[in-house]
Symmetry: C2
Subunit: 544 residues, 2 copies
């Protein structure tokens, strides 16, 4: 780090300079920018973290709660950031960072992001976004078309209509899911006779008016935690999210779902929504959406599909069938910042019916006036950036066939990984990949034999110790800094539906190679051997 | 626009290139980036829009709902964006764009934004953000300190504590306000005996358990529309947001507030929260926060301050006193993307009590495990970008004295503008600036005389026509493309509390000069004269 002898000063001239510095490549800022690029390329090499300090150590660099009284020169501060922040951040784009849903981004995203930030549009209203408003409406139209495939005249009628919207652009899948359930709730409990509707009169009055004992949301036990959060925020309560058991493939058991619906109806408990999952966060499986649609139709409740992860699969003509039935959903969440390779902050919810958003519409005197095309009149958020541009650009530059290639190759890669896990004598594949996610664990071949011979109680004990081993390997591997898989706990059918700790991987990064995957398994074997004391414990547990 | 003869193809090699293009300044992408910078500088010149097509014309460029089957070369697509999008977007950073709360940004924001996007951290959990998590916690600490000024030991104890949080970083003020009221609601209706709390059991059961007839939120009639939206989402209902009248300075009338509280208590209606406004969206006035705090204390209800706009005033030692009493608030919203000059997408809510967030905590198996320092366990949103870095960098590079200078100068500029409006015989200043906002309208001196001599009915008629004139001038000025003021409708004391249409300006852009302001008035005079037919109408209305 270069230490500056100069001292920055907060003068009117210095401030003016900060707001006006030209961006020519030979200017100070141009040089700084090149330096950042070089550092970024250096950082984005080989390792998942550039420096592997413990979090508590890193915290020591971020300890001061006082706002500085002394300004810093831009170049000095950027050196500080490279040193203390970038070097200690996570290389989410690394080919061997396969534990979460972040991936490498296309390189064109960087200059476009700068363009987006430089323009600093606010999509809440046309007055601060102009062409960005029709652009966002077009992106919503394209995402709607991806799901519902309506004909040209449908989009001509609704895409740019002031009173309608094909969806809402959100900061992420959680806000998208809340928005979908907000629409569902307000539609169900709408104005009726003297009752002014939940929007104006609230949930308490609404339930009294309609005579419902309770509202519930049904989803599989693999449903994302944002559904509980939504139920909390919307006043329905987390316990009203009823988790329906999944089958051995982590898909909702539709027979149990139908039974539950019948039982609830008999109790006069209204089903607000059934939420199908298209790509569970932990295993990547897709619920039988067509069957869920039948049930939702029968009980006349809102059918929402949380396709935050799996929605992009619709771009693949080969795998699109996995989501059959999604076109019958009333609303669908898709995160563009997941498998559509745009940066964090791009969630979308689309609605089958373009007038759905009427149930969450709001206005103000200074903006969002009735009849305006301001997008802010039907979004949960207020001010929003021009992120939709990055989705628009990606859809044009990569195109559908490009996305299909990315998605098909990711699924193939997951199948390859499953295959080498199956072939390896010391690993156990826990969930097969349907999309590009899978889970597995390290179980030495000798212990595999013990497990299959053991009774339920012994199995439970063995799995407890194996869980500790999985945790040990996962943590140690992360700390080594070459690769990262995540871990989770899931119910496993062959172990009496016991919850078992497993490695979880997401293979969306196009730069992850087969070699990367082989290396990750090899490192895990080595780490397992480093911890010799697990084997005696396992043998003792099996009472051998 | 350069038309390419080449045709892009979706091949594995082309896709690989898209994800790996080096960023050296002499590469294709480097050249594209320079071109974008040059275009951006060209665009960010003089005018508020580069091309002034009507929205319906622009929509014709954004009409296709199909996802392209044919990929585009990056350079071709960027030319398309510059041509169809950038040229038709809004120059929110223009010195003469003074109608909304967007401003020029410091130039260092651009390379830092690129760094942020390039790193693509996800702040929901430490595993995908590492040093960004302590950084965000420090930023929340600094913002907390700005409001509450607790001592060093307080921040040492709570800033990095896994079970606590000094606030939440949000995509904007709306999510910040919802989060604050969500916390207030869940705290008020917490678990109690057999009752499991609203979080689990929902609002209906909670109100029954506590025996409340209703919950209400009190705020001034100048409160932001996001409060109604929050009440809708949280299940309380928009009608439960009770608007208390403001005085002649657009500040909540505390006597009326106290009366209303007393009346509600007598009816067994529980006050969930009183929301003070620190910088109303339309006029920039600050409620008497200290007096509101007294009332909130008396009725033991949550005291929230919506300082989305005005919170940054705390950085000015000179003007900080305007917000006296804010340190008694249970929660405070501040938008860094407003008067702290960072790009769209940086809202903050801070909590006086670091354990407040316990009431909205949630967990999941694969992340947000209990005891982790994952920020996602107490935010409304899930995946979030590293925006906090831009606030951190701005606080260090600009520093408090730098911000003070920006804020003081903005207020001085607003006072100057008020002065020249007052001195001009054909303008009427409607609201005096307290922060850097003011409202005014064009009223020819002859009509001013008519107005003061008129009875209430005549005044109403005159104001109706003057409203049309204001609207005419505002629209025409926007269409001319040199400058932009917004308009709104506000209640005006001297006209029997009638709602009157006014120009609204926000003078936060440091590049706006006194000359800009004089030019804007001059243009408005010219536009008024273009519309000769308003004067006869006005005279007729006054029955002269």
């Amino acid at each position: 780090m270069i230490t500056s002898k100069r001292t920055a000063q907060a003068t009117p001239e210095a401030l003016h300079r900060i707001f006006t510095i030209a961006e020519a490549p030979d200017s100070t800022l141009g040089r700084i920018e090149q330096e950042i690029s070089h550092n970024l390329i250096g950082f984005l090499n080989n390792r998942i973290v550039a420096s592997k300090n413990a979090l508590t150590d890193i915290e020591q660099d971020f300890i001061c709660p006082r706002i500085p009284e002394q300004p810093e020169f831009v170049s000095d501060h950027i050196h500080h950031l490279l040193d203390k922040l970038v070097a200690q951040s996570v290389h989410t784009a690394s080919p061997s960072f396969i534990g979460h849903m972040t991936s490498a981004l296309p390189a064109f995203i960087l200059p476009l992001s700068k363009l987006m930030v430089g323009l600093n549009q606010n999509l809440v209203k046309v007055e601060t976004s102009k062409a960005f408003t029709p652009l966002e409406r077009q992106v919503l139209g394209m995402m709607h078309n991806l799901v519902y495939q309506e004909d040209e005249s449908f989009y001509q009628a609704w895409m740019h209509s002031a009173q309608h919207s094909l969806g809402a652009f959100c900061s992420g899948g959680t806000v998208a899911n809340i928005t979908a359930l907000w629409v569902a709730r307000n539609k169900l409990l709408k104005a009726d006779g003297d009752f002014k509707g939940i929007t104006r009169s609230g949930l308490f009055a609404a339930l009294q008016h309609y005579g419902y004992q309770d509202l519930v949301i049904l989803t599989s036990e693999r449903g994302h935690y944002s559904l509980q959060k939504s139920a909390d925020i919307l006043g329905i309560g987390q316990d009203s999210v009823i988790a329906i058991e999944t089958d051995e493939n982590n898909k909702i058991d539709c027979q149990k779902l139908a039974q539950k619906c019948q039982q609830l109806s008999a109790q006069n408990i209204k089903i607000l929504a059934i939420v199908g999952v298209a790509g569970t966060t932990e295993t990547g499986n897709v619920d039988p959406l067509d069957k869920i649609a039948d049930i939702a139709e029968q009980y006349q409740c809102h059918f929402h599909v949380d396709a935050a992860w799996g929605g992009a699969t619709l771009l693949s003509n080969k795998h699109r069938y996995l989501l059959n039935g999604i076109e019958r959903a009333d609303s669908v969440t898709i995160d563009a910042h997941k498998q559509m390779y745009v940066p964090m902050g791009a969630g979308v919810v689309v609605f089958k019916d373009p007038s759905s958003v009427a149930d969450i519409e709001h206005h103000a005197e200074y903006i969002l006036r009735k009849g305006s095309k301001d997008l802010g009149s039907h979004t949960l958020e207020g001010s929003r950036s021009g992120m939709a541009m990055l989705v628009y650009a990606s859809l044009h530059i990569i195109s559908r066939p490009g996305y299909e290639m990315l998605i098909n190759r990711a699924i193939d890669k997951a199948k390859y990984f499953a295959k080498i896990i199956n072939e390896h004598e010391d690993f156990e594949l826990v969930t097969e990949p349907e999309l590009c996610l899978l889970t597995y664990r390290y179980v030495p071949t000798s212990v595999q034999r013990l497990l299959s011979a053991a009774d339920a109680e012994q199995q439970a004990e063995l799995n407890l110790i194996l869980g500790k081993l999985t945790k040990f390997i996962q943590k140690r591997q992360r700390e080594n800094g070459h690769s990262f898989v995540s871990r989770t706990r899931i119910k496993v059918a062959c172990y009496n539906d016991e919850k078992v700790i497993v490695f979880r991987v997401v293979l969306a990064n196009p730069l992850t190679s087969k070699e990367t995957l082989r290396d990750i398994l090899a490192e895990q074997c080595l780490l397992a051997q480093e911890s010799e004391n697990f084997l005696p414990q396992l043998l003792a547990a099996a009472k051998v």
